[in-house]
Amino acid sequence: MQGFLDIFDIYLLEAVVNGILLGGVLALLALGLNLIFGVIDVTWICYAELVMIGMYGMYYMVQVFGLPYWVAAPFAILLVAALGAALHYIVIAPLLTAPPINQLLATGGVLFILQSFATVAFGIDFRNLGIRLPVLAIGEMHFSYSRLLAFAAALIGMLAIYFFMKRTYTGTAIRAVAQDRQIMSLMGVDTKRIYIITSALGGALAGLAACLLVLQYDVHPFVGLSFGPITFLICVLGGLGNFVGGFIAAFVFAQIISLGGLFSDLEWGYVLAFAFFIVMMFIRPAGLFARRS
């Protein structure tokens, strides 16, 4: 009994809080991907690679051109927003009526193009922003400000998207197109414009994620491999297209990884998280918080 009680120590609490903070990082990544799918019905397999380009943008602006972090961040967000809009215009728009597998393959192709482009343009070296944020220490527990920032940004980002969707004309139009794109175009809504705006918004969220991830991770052409699959799983778990669902799923997933890793080997945390995902796919194939059709 005492052995069992021993696990309820300060480190358990630290693991729980770290799980919440990791959830913030994952939620931030899932937000943009869900927005795109919710409105355009296309999954950007290359989403994490857009984040990677944004991270490189931050690296070059801060390390090479000497811009302060806070000045560089808006530019990086704009850069990836423009990239998102361009991705839609060049790759997605011609395939809007194509079968989903074609769209998946096309964005999968973009993934490899972006990875190869980054390898050629930026080289294979790991790049580091060189910014070391302070640490918040509460007793024996320590928390990274970079993760706290990511958590806050994810929260603010989700609220901002929520109010944008609910309270603005463009947001209402986006939601309307998400519900029925054919009818909305018959009613005079410029769906092409809505798609471009949504793609730019999704790109901007990827850019925001890039600005925060670059404080925690080295940048290299394959950094997307660490996040891409897990982000995709979170979106599916939350119900593809449901950004509130994705937000909550990110925290569920992160807690399983964190606590599973604390009580067993780190790898078991991931095994448990993926097992949970598979079980949930049997129980709720459309995700924990699937949209009503």
Partner: protein, 436 residues
């Protein structure tokens, strides 16, 4: 007129036959060895040290491409394993079957080496491993055509635990049995093998192993591992990883307030100082790393006199490729030295004594190599375990050393015979991770 035409035809035909004959003669005269060279030039392993290995091997191959060996031209065909075992296998097979290389050289990742070695052996080609260290590549395989002059992974693990055991009382003020150690590693063939060496060494020394755990090198978060380490309170952490998992661990360890007396790495990512410094800043100071000695740190007095000029040449050529590097990575010299051993010891013997460069001639020549300690740029000698031995193909005379990074310089601190300075142990007070 028809006679004239026939005469022209005859002349043309004769010229064609003569040209063909000359070509055949030239072909017969041009003796060459075609070497397939495989490292990771893209993907996460490239920046983790594989590209540096490629540079080291290429410097040496380029030198011998100019001079040739015993009348044989040396031609290298380079391929990129893209940090993926399946690509490494495909490239190895492509080089053997389509490019018709006489042998393969290189390989950074043990995860690639294990399957590639089996495939190359199956194809009865010759494989000269410059880098990957996992014992699983050769252990109990009894390969005939696979050779590795490099030290094996368990030797790395045993060397570092021996270093800590020998210094526990004097430097850390604890008997080995009272020393709390943690062994963490990436979960590929390389990390697992080194950790086995760590575990065996720790048990031999009587350390108290408070945590032993593997993780995926691509894991996006290691905070749970750091929390467990905080709970376990190890004095010494033995870590085996690539990069960027090493910098992720270091960063999260700092952020979560992990404290210890020593961090001991084992090659790969720990061998690329520039990247460690970029990722961890000043926290890399006093970190230990086990690797074959950097050829630029070798004790010249103990080396064969013909080697120092070669070491200088490798350094000069490397500086042309990567100017302004603070510490030339041991990776470069490792590949250069092991390639040099092949080009100066195995290849000439195969040509002169065994009649050519076919896999059997190369194999016989490799088995006859007998270099005493100090005979290679890495300081160790070369003698391969032969058929029937559990580690057939492994160099029985190789050994790594333990170095320590101190103020942007690396120093050999163990074994004592090679040491350039006393180890700074434990971490000085006031440093980020110091538990004092």
């Amino acid at each position: 007129m028809p006679g004239h035409k026939a005469a022209r035809l005859l002349v043309g035909l004769s010229a064609a036959i003569a040209a063909l004959g000359m070509a055949v003669t030239a072909e017969a005269q041009e003796k060459k060895i075609k070497i397939g060279v495989i490292y990771d030039l893209t993907g996460p392993l490239a920046g983790g040290g594989s590209e540096l290995q490629h540079i080291g091997a290429k410097i040496m191959l380029d030198q011998y491409a100019k001079t040739g060996v015993e009348g044989y031209k040396v031609e290298a065909v380079y391929a990129d394993a893209q940090s993926k075992p399946d690509v490494a296998i495909n490239e190895a097979v492509r080089l053997i079957e389509q490019e018709k290389v006489n042998m393969l050289l290189g390989f950074f990742s043990s995860a690639q080496c294990v399957p590639v070695a089996a495939r190359v052996e199956q194809l009865k080609n010759f494989m000269w491993i410059t880098t990957c260290i996992s014992s699983a590549v050769l252990s109990d395989k009894n390969f005939k055509y696979v050779f590795r002059p490099q030290a094996s992974g368990d030797q790395f693990g045993l060397m570092t635990t021996d270093f800590i055991a020998q210094n526990a009382k004097e430097k850390l003020g604890k008997e080995p049995k009272d020393l709390r150690v943690a062994i963490i590693h990436e979960d590929g063939a390389y990390g697992v093998d080194v950790s086995k060496g760590n575990e065996a060494g720790a048990k031999k020394a009587g350390f108290n192993i408070v945590l032993k755990e593997g993780y995926a090198a691509t894991a996006p978060d290691l905070s749970s591992l750091v929390t467990k380490l905080k709970r376990a309170r190890p004095d010494v952490i033995f870590h085996t990883g690539y990069n960027p998992d090493i910098t992720l661990f270091g960063r999260q360890a700092r952020e979560q307030g992990l404290k210890f007396a020593a961090l001991v790495g084992h090659g790969a990512g720990y061998g690329v100082y520039e990247k460690l410094k970029e990722g961890l800043g000043g926290d890399v100071n006093y970190v230990f790393n086990a690797d074959p000695i950097s050829i630029w740190a070798s004790n010249e007095k103990g080396l064969n006199p013909k080697l120092p000029p070669v070491i200088k040449m490798v350094g000069d050529e490397f500086d042309k490729v990567k100017p302004g590097v603070a510490i030339r990575s041991a990776h470069v010299g490792m590949a250069a030295s092991n390639t040099y051993v092949f080009l100066t010891e195995v290849l000439p013997r195969a040509i002169k004594k065994h009649g050519g460069v076919d896999p059997d001639a190369l194999r016989k020549a490799a088995l006859e190599v007998d270099i005493p300690e100090g005979g290679t740029m890495l300081g160790f000698g070369v003698k391969f375990f032969g058929e029937g031995n559990q580690m057939a193909g492994q160099n029985e005379r190789s050994f790594p050393v333990v170095i320590q990074y101190v103020d942007d310089k690396s120093y050999v601190v163990w074994p004592k015979s090679q040491a350039q300075r006393e180890a700074v142990l434990p971490l000085p007070k006031g440093t980020t991770f110091s538990n004092q």
